[in-house]
Amino acid sequence: MVPMKTVEPRPAPLQHALSRQGFLRAAFALAASPLLRYVPAEAAEGLEASEVAPGIFVHQGRYELQSPQNRGDMANASFVVGTDAVAVIDTLGSAVAGRELRSAIRAVTDKPISYVINTHMHPDHVFGNAAFKEDNPTFVGHYKLARGLGSRAERYLAINKTMLGEEAFEGIEIIVPTLAVEDSLNLDLGGRTLVLETQATAHTDNDLTVTDTATDTLFLGDLLFSVHVPTLDGSITGWLALIDELGRREAARVVPGHGPHAMALPEALQPEQRYLAAITADVRQLIKDGRTLEDAIRTAGFSERDAWKLFDQYHVRNVTAAFAELEWE
């Protein structure tokens, strides 16, 4: 079997994202937990995945835009091992990276990979799907994922071909869910059940959350960003409302779509909530004052600039989307 060793939780990203009090509580919670074991998963190209709870493995993506060097490995991807089957939750941003994820799974278990779950339509979470075709899994996602991905497929493929380069782009396919979740759905992996829930429009219009009942682990996909600036492709008011709701939930840990392997509720949500609330307040004031989109992209939310990675890459787009939404209030 794969050797396992204990590693210290990584305080740096947490510290970056949390209040001091919240940080201490979260760090304590993680340090007190025996769960953050490390699986080197040295097979193949050596994609690392940490076991954050028994049978729950999380690979942490880089805080980067896609590039030939990172091969689309810039989001978190997880897998859950039951007594009968394995479920993959997001597949990274290329077939190449997806294959590395598959190798990491095979380094841990020989059980069949029966489900590939996509938390939403974005390429850094779905473009690795093709790597699992040989397992003939059920591809599972929000019932609106196919529409959203379909209408953007041409642009997603073109952009990623440019940014990843030929080598890392090789083998990417658009694979939409074969099992669409309308409201909620339970997947039995043997000894544990995954509860899949569709959410109202927030990060996108096809966000899906996953709860592992055995360990009380909540996978939030890109409903939770930490360190990496949030990206808005749905509804800023919807997202803030959902954060309120998620913050009242109780889970042993949450896994973000971008950020550390595992975090604690409700602190994990606070930086993201602060960021989205800052944009909302600034944009609403500008609209009230009769100001324009051009004014907004120069000023709104810039108090958050030092709090996030990739702020310069995504913030103006976020403000643009927020303005186009909030001006209809």
């Binding site: 799907n129 075709k133 591809f139 609106k144 196919a146 529409r147 959203g148 991905l149 379909g150 209408s151 953007r152 497929a153 041409e154 642009r155 493929l157 073109a158 952009i159 071909k161 990417i172 396919e173 658009i174 694979i175 939409v176 074969t178 429009t201 996108t204 219009d205 492709d233 749905g234 509804s235 009769g290 324009t292 989109l293 051009e294 992209i297 103006v316 787009r317 643009t320 989307a321 186009a324 939404e325 001006e327 209809w328």
Partner: protein, 282 residues
């Protein structure tokens, strides 16, 4: 327009027909949809000939100024402003906006009426889709019949194929809802006032795939808008799908005895929408 575009580029509804939702469909063929061949071609000589014939166009003579980001963060929603500086004292006849490399390069043409006003800076702003790295141009015709052009190169890509609607279900709920706002100037005697019109409309360009039907979502966009102040024409605009989803316009008009605005809109399905507003924004 978009049908011509597809033919010209050898685009391929054929491949898409074979797409099945449950079949782990490979849409890789969609890459072929990307605009081809035209990348380095200078289309402006042809465009200008079609629009203005052999008439002289004075470029960058300061009569008209264009403001647009040099790099568009969201190519489906790029803010564009055209200004006519206050030292230009003539009445304005027309304004035509172009994005050279868009499927339909002509974005909009405005024919101004007596209520367009003068005696201060006049401006027109909207938000556009930009399909490829391209020049964006504004050609202004003044009442003496001369043509003046400002242009700027913009790095942006994929704005037309991009689906701008974040949530198509809520976007389609209030289709046609139109809001008009009049912004009285700080000094009410100022001869130039400003206003805004926003229309809830997908402005669909026929280039987005509906994966559930394997067909393209049909084009449907605002093609005409007439703005009147107290019954007098401010401008009449003809527009294309280069205008972003939920079309949004900020513009100036000349102060009159009655500063309420009437706006009438027609889309390509011949649906008509109308709205009005007084200076209080009622």
């Amino acid at each position: 327009m978009d049908a011509n575009y597809n033919e010209e580029n050898g685009a391929m509804p054929f491949t898409l027909k074979s797409l099945t939702i449950g079949g782990a469909a490979a849409l890789a063929g969609l890459l072929l949809l990307s605009p081809v061949a035209k990348a380095d071609e200078d289309v402006w000589p042809t465009l200008r000939q079609q629009a203005f014939g052999d008439r002289t166009i004075q470029a960058e003579d300061g009569m008209v100024v264009i403001e647009i980001p040099g790099t568009a963060e969201d190519a489906a929603l790029v803010p564009l402003t055209v200004r006519v500086p206050p030292q230009v004292t003539q009445n304005l006849k027309s304004l035509t906006l172009f994005i050279d490399k868009n499927p339909d390069p002509k974005v909009a043409t405005l024919a101004f009426g007596p209520a367009a006003g003068k005696g201060g800076e006049r401006s027109f702003s909207t938000r556009v889709r930009i399909e490829d790295f391209s020049y964006v141009r504004a050609v202004l015709e003044t009442e003496d019949g001369t043509l003046h052009m400002a242009s700027k190169f913009v790095a942006a890509a994929g704005g037309c194929g991009a689906m701008q609607a974040k949530d198509p279900d809520t976007e389609s709920v209030d289709l046609g809802k139109t809001i008009v706002k009049v912004f009285p100037p700080a000094l009410e005697q100022s001869p130039i006032w400003s206003a805004q019109v926003m229309i809830k409309h997908p402005n669909a360009n026929g280039m987005q795939l509906d994966i559930n039907t394997a067909n393209f979502i049909p084009a449907r966009f605002v093609k005409e808008m007439t703005v009147k102040r107290g019954g007098e024409l401010v401008f009449q605009m003809e527009s294309t799908f280069s205008i972003s989803t939920n079309p949004n316009f900020r513009f100036t008009f000349g102060r009159g005895p009655d500063n309420s605005l009437d706006v009438a809109i027609t889309d390509t399905d011949e649906a008509r929408f109308a709205a009005k507003a007084g200076p209080s924004g009622s």
